[in-house]
Structure formats: C-alpha cells, structure tokens
Amino acid sequence: MTLTSDNKATNTQELITATIDGIQMQVPKGTLIIRAAEKMGTFVPRFCDHPSLAPVAACRMCLVEIEGMPKPQPSCAIPLTEGMVVKTQMTSKVAEDAQAGVMEFLLINHPLDCPVCDKGGECPLQNQAMTAGRTESRFEIEKRTFPKPLELSTEILLDRERCVECARCTRFSEEIAGDPFIELLERGAKQQVGIATDEPFNSYFSGNTVQICPVGALTSSAYRFRSRPFDLVSVKTTCEHCAAGCSLRTDYRRETVMRRLAWEDPEVNEDWNCDKGRFAFGYLKTNRLTQPKVRNLDGNQIDALWPDAVDIAAAGLANAQGKVAVLLGGRLTLEDAYAYSKFARVALGTNNIDFRNRDHSEEEQQFLGSAVAGNHNSVTYKELENAQNVILVSFEPEEESPIIFLRLRKAMQKGNLKVTAIAPYLSKGLEKLNAEVVATKPGEEGKVLSGIDIVENSIILIGERAAAIPGLLSVALEVSNKTQSKISWIPRRAGERGALEAGALPALLPGARPVADASARSEVAKVWGVSNSKIPSEPGLDHSQIIKAAINGELKALIIAGLDVLDAPDPKLFSEAINAVDFVITIGVQENSLTRYANVSLPVAPVTEKSGTFINWEGRPRPFGKAIGSTNALTDARVLSMIAESMDLDFGLQIIEDLRMELSELGIWNGSKLEKPQFESKEIVDFKNDNVILSTWHQLLDEGAMQVGEEHLAGTQKSSVAYLSEETAKQNNLTTGDLVTVLNTRGSITLPLEIIEMVNKVIWIPFNSKDSKVKQSLGAKEGDIMLIEKGKV
C-alpha cells in the first residue's frame, strides 16, 4: 500500500489548523485530507490516490464527511483548509457507509478469481474489501466478463474485468513516463483501459503500472502465475543494470528470483524504476558458470576443483613475471573492482588495469581522475529536480539513464527547467523533456558547447560517449569552469563509477590518487601493508594499449573479468589479443564467447548472490546485501584472495567487511589530483557525398548481455531503424521505407530508413540492437566516417 514520504509534502511552510476525527492538527497549507489523516495514523481506504500522481478522485473510495458540505467528499482531492472539520470512517457513520457503498459498486463486476490472480495476497482491493466492504454480496445477477487477458504489450497483460478504473496506470504513463500509450477507452459502464489498435504499450516504464495497479488488472507476462506473495522473500537490493542506482525489491522463492519491483527511495528513484531493471534478471539463470574450468595439455577445457584451478591460475600469473594486464567490465561492484585494483598492484606489480570495456581515451582518464573521482555528490537527483538549466552532451537520458530522464521530466513539468541537448536530432525522449536541441554532428559537440550561451549555475550532464570525441571532455571542463556550472559524468554501466573510485585505471589508485604521485603511493602502500616500491610509479597501459601490447606479444597473461568481447571497443582486436596471449584467466558469472579461450575460467557470484556496493552517477554509495545465499558462489574479491594466497601473498580480502574497512581506511585523497585534460578537438575534414558521420547510442532495451532470456521484455524493444536528414537522404537517392546500408572496411549494417529532422551528413543507428550491432559488424565508434548506400532486400 502506498504511503507518503516526507519529501512529497508540499513546499509551503505556512501552517493551517484543522480537525480530523476530533483531533486538532497543524499541517502545511495545501496538504490533502488523506495525507493528513495518514500522518495521524488513520488510513482512509483508496485506490486511485498515489502520492506521486496528481489527485483525480476517480475511484471515490476515500469519501469522508466534511462539516459544512452536504455530501461526503473525496479526501484524496481536497486540501485541508483553515478550521476544516473532517470526520473519517473512524468517527463518522456517513463516511463509513459511503465507503461501504462505493466498495459494493466496485465489486459488482469484479470477478471472484482471487485464487488465480497474481495480485491475490497483496491486493489493496482484497484488503479494503475486508475492512470497508460488506461480508456478503447483494449482487445476484451474472457478472460482466471479458476474454482475458488482453495483451497491452508482450510484457504487460490487462485483465479488464478486474479493473476498477482508478486510472493510476494511465496517469502514470502520461504524467510520469510521458508515454500515453494506454488510455481509458469507451465511456460509462463500458469504460476500460486500452491501447490503440496495433500500438502496443511499449514504454520503458510500463512495469511500474503493474506495481501501482491497486487490483490485479495489470500483470506482467514474465511473472504470471509464477508464485504467490506469501511464497516470496523480499530483499532490498540495488539495480545492476545502469548507473542510476535504483533501489529494488528483489522477491525470490526457493533460491530463484521471481520478480523485482521498485523500492521507494525518495533521494534516488522515488517510486519508480525502468523495465530493464524490473524485468531483466533472466540472465541470472542463463549460461551460468558453476564450475571452474582449466585447459589441459591437449588444449581442452575440463572441469576442475577450486584449489587446482586457483593454483594453476597463480602459477600462470607467476610465469608471466609482471607482463600481465587486467581488463575489467563496468559491471563489478565497488568492492570487487577494488580487489582487482589491489591485486594488479600487489600481486602482479602492474598498473595495467582498466575498467573501460567501451570506447575510451587518455583524455577521459584525465577527466575522470581530475573532475569525477573522489568528487562525491557533485550533482544529485535533487539538484536536477531543482535545476534551471541542464545541458546534455553526448547523453540521451531516456535510453542511457532512464531515472535521470524521469527526474528531468519531473523538473520540466514543474515548469522550472530548461533542457538543452547537444545532439544530432530531437529524439522522442528529448521531446518528452521539452528539450531544445542544438543540432550537432558527432565530433563537433565541443565546438558547439563552447559556442552556445550557458547561464551561470547550469548543470552539464556528459555521457560516457564523450570519450569517443577527441577534445570534448577538455572543452566541457573549461566551459563548466567558465560558467560556474557543475558538470556530472553519466556512465551507463552500474559499476563504472565504483571501479573509478577503486582505482581500476592505469593512472589512478583508489580514492582518486594519481599513480605518479609518490605520497599517494605511499599512503596506499601503507594501508596495503606493502613496501612503497611495490606499487609501480609509472602509469600502466589502458584498455586499448593493453590490447595492442598483447597483440604485439608484449604481454604474457591477461585477467579478464566481468566482460564480454562483444562490448569491447574493437571486438576483432580483442579476440586477436586473447589469441596472442599465452595465459588467459576469465572470471565471470556467465559463459560467453571469451570463456572458451580461457586457460582458467573461474565462476563468480552475480549480484543476487553476494553483498556489495554500486556507486551511482551521483557518487552515492548504494550498498546491498546478499539475497540468495545457498549457491555458495564466491565473489571476485574472494577468488582473487585465493589466487593471492596461492602466490604466498597476504592479500586479506576474504569477506566484504575486510573490503569495506580497507576502503574506508583509504578514504579519499586530498592531495592534488590528475591534471585536467587539455586535448585539441579534431576538425571534421571534408568528405564525399555518400560519406556520413556515424552517430549511435544504446537503446535501453537491446541485445545487451544482461537482457538475455527475457523474451517478454525483448518484445517491447524499439524496432531498429536508421535516421537520416531529408537532404542527406536525397543526396543518396533514398526515401523513407528504403533499406539503407552503412558500411566501412570491416562490414555493414542494413536497416530500414526513416527520414527525420536532423543534422545533415549524419546517420544514426542503434548501437547494439537487433540487426544493428555497431561493434560486431562495423567495429566503429561515434564520429567515424561511414559509407552509405541503398540496401538490398
């Protein structure tokens, strides 16, 4: 049941005095009766009321008696006024009867199918029918029935006979998500929630409607009939899908996650989360590695016992004698990333470690080391909500950080926010933010950013894609300095910010300490209990340098953890590197294309089976506990400790408490940070007519590794299309509906073309969607110059 949190009270602090049930109270002006009653401990029954949605008084369940008013009034829509005397069902027969009457009407056509209903057991209608309803129905004729369920999308099912027309779902879709794909259709007794013909409810936030539906009318295909509420054990967790850091409620039964819900957190995700966070957890059970594997002398991978596998790994690393590098994905927890960071320095004696398994640059490292690492709470969700001006650079909120999108939308609706996006076109998501787009070719963002007028105290949100554009991050820092605007870096993956703080970069130690700084090194060495000389003073190789060095035979061993080759900046080079290296250790949750190259493959625990912390884009730690314990899967840190032990090192990171203690002991560096990046932008050179610049970013729902095994969710993906401006299309003799092929020397992608209003000479395609896998097919990045031609069927 929905309860109000303090942050949702009205802003005005002017107090008024009113009486509810004979108790005089002072509340801020504008407080709704239902909220005030709730505060004093009286729960007025309700369905349509939701603290995050505007009042509508649709269900009439919350009727109360107000002195001086001829009839009972809906308490969810009337604010208390000075001297108002209200009687709820606790003291008023009128209110009690009115509520009982409404309940009787609501139940007339409500089916008696609670035993088969997914909501049964946690259903406000069920509960309130017990508290506010009659014991026996007086309705004797047949109830109205509908064929059920109606598929609103592949993920959301509607059971029309259960609906009480509270309009929570439709209001959520319109007010919060900005996706009014569901509406109340028909009228009067026939009124029903529905979609337009052939226009499914494919909103990224559709799952929230299932959660706020006060009856079982909206259910999700994925959870349908899988369990009952009383089977489930609920644990508060943190979402591992993006850097938003949503609080989730993970419900599991018999050691299997059954569903995930948004856990209310006013500071972060409020009452909501996105469909990816809610529905994409099938990967936990798909292609899971459970057994260590080692390659035997014949070159075959065979199952091994943990001690053997660990010894072989340790021996392999010792053999490499420092010619080792560690490649991490961006999905590790802070603690695990820290363990790798320490392991690389202490056990391997190298700074060759990088968490950026995506397009990256030296400029980015400097940017992160100088402006992001150790800079906790630079910009917060709250600040976004109260901001006047937000500038988005290389960042598409709805696709790349949906909770930021929701918060920006909330701010925009309050009427105080102006969003300016430096992007090639006005996307649907930006449209919902009422954003102004400065149409920009990829590569020219820096030039545009320094050219536009920026009001002082704006907020600049810069996405991880900025790393692909030379000079952009340097310019962004300069601009933010000049305009006294805060700048915040928005990575996509959940573990990136944590890995940064953990020092999983070639030039950074934990706590934003530069490797090159002797006193920083000695601070770290002291905590680690090693001699100062143990930590190499020279910055190591970054991801792409590691790949290059491996191919050139300069490295002997690689530790690859929590990543898939398909995400790599260049999958082809990545594969070459793995083949060139003698000894590869992969540490991961799932089996993927990498694990079969491994000399030693070690399975570790996914987020549900360990505790840890994600640091979200704000720099806010989001710790979570272990949900499922019985699998005995090990954390990355534990595995590294075992390897270190086998190498006769006192590593000392066996349990989460060790890690957290060491991290807090290290704290944040207050000496001088990395130098600010000062890189030159590249001018876009003239190019031929059939050449265009590639613009691409991830869709929220795509072919990502952590969305496998979720067919229902996959059904709500956006279809893959390519965008061109009218002029560019005309120059290449293309029109809407044609197929267009984007190609380079590596390969090609063919997609249906849509002509939209956008900057000329640029083609936009999805980054990792069906039929459009930029890295796999093209090995390209944003800003690259591509050839286009008419596609063949």
């Binding site: 009014p180 794909f181 569901i182 509406e183 109340l184 259709l185 009228r187 337009a196 013909t197 226009e199």
Partner: protein, 220 residues
C-alpha cells in the same frame, strides 16, 4: 466492405483543421468528423493519422474516438438514421418509429444494412421535443414523424429521390454531413427554413403575458 484510404490530400485538409485552433489538439473532434466523412467510419488508420497530425499518441486519439458515440468504428451506410428514444419522443411514437425502422431494414442499433445504404442508431434527446417524435437523417432533423412518413422516407432515400429535412437542407449523405460537422462550410446555410410557429409559440405567449424567468437564489 473496403474502407477508403486516407491520402495526402486528406492530410492536407486535416492540417487546415488543426491550424484553426490556438492549441492544435483542440482540432481533434472536427478532425475525427473529417475522417468519418472520408472513411464512413473512424478506422484505426484514421486514428493513427489524426495522432500523427496532432503529435498525440494513437491511444490518446482512440480515447476520444471511443468516448463519443457519434464516431463509429464500423463502416456506416450512405445514410445515418437516428430515432430519439428518450421519454417524450418515445411516448409520442418514437418507440413505434424504432420498431418500424428496425423491421423495415432488418437491422438493429448501430448496424448497417448489407447494401451499405443505412446505418441506424437510437439517439438521445435532440432538444426538439416540441416536434416529437423526432428523427434525424444524417443529423438533419425530420420532425413530427410517424411510421407512414418513415416508410416513405426510406423509400425515397433508397431510390435517391430528393428528401428535404423539415428544418434543414436537402438530404445528401452522412459523408457530406460529417464534412460539415468537421467545419468545412457547404454554403447551404440559407437553404433551411426558418423556425415555424410551433417552435416560437412559447416565446410568443410569454411575451404576450409579460412573463419573465423566475429569479433564483444567488442572482443579484
């Protein structure tokens, strides 16, 4: 029966309607009437088109299109015939008219004859109780009807003989009426007869007797 496609020309006319209003989405009702004049119904494609023109989602348009009973989601015949079934008309012969109509055409409420000539509908009060029982043909009034007149009316409409509304213009088709409802002037505003004595009798008597409306509470 195939429903007529909405073409680029139609979209141009929809744009004309949308441009009439300070807030474009205000044009949705006229636009749906327009779609109905083109298609003889509001089809999913029609809903989609309105949504595209107004930058709404199809669901938002569908919510409006399904709310109002004047928008049909099945193909209408050439003529739309309504019979008022509210109390006064019903008592004064409306029920008989409805019975006659359904028996003659062999169809029921919101149904279309197989030859696509007629769609019939039970309609609510048309605010013309003075001339009850009231019928409408393509939303033009046919006042003071009786079963015999109804039979004749159907015959005429079937054969295409001219039918004059008692208070409106010559009956053409529902398509033309819908176009008018959409806001495209058909230039026939002066073709209708003026109000007759039965309409104005009350006003005349009130004036003769110097009657005024009672002054209610709260009126200054």
């Amino acid at each position: 029966m195939s429903v007529k496609e909405i073409t680029a020309e139609h979209i141009e006319e929809l744009e004309v309607l949308a441009a009439k209003y300070p807030v474009r989405r205000s044009a949705l009702l006229p636009m749906l009437h327009y779609v109905q004049s083109v298609q003889g119904m509001v089809s999913p494609k029609g809903i989609q088109t309105c949504a595209t023109v107004l930058d709404l989602t199809p669901a938002e348009v569908a919510a409006v299109a399904t709310f109002y009973t004047m928008f049909k989601r099945f193909p209408m015949g050439k003529h739309h015939i309504g019979v008022c079934i509210n109390t006064l008309c019903a008592l004064l012969g409306g029920d008989d008219l409805w019975k006659e109509l359904t028996e003659t055409l062999g169809i029921g409420h919101d149904e279309t004859t197989s030859d696509s000539m007629f769609t019939i509908e039970r309609i609510e009060c048309q605010a013309a109780c003075t001339v009850a029982p009231v019928m409408t043909v393509n939303w033009e009034f046919m006042d003071s009807m009786d079963p015999a007149k109804l039979k004749e009316l159907i015959e005429k409409l079937k054969t295409g003989a001219p039918v004059q509304s008692t208070r409106g213009t010559l009956i053409t088709s529902i398509s033309d009426s819908e176009r008018l409802l959409a806001g495209f002037n058909d230039g026939k505003v002066n073709d209708s007869p003026d109000a007759d004595d039965s309409m104005l009798a009350g006003l005349r008597v009130a004036k003769e007797r110097n009657m005024t409306a009672p002054i209610g509470k709260g009126v200054r």
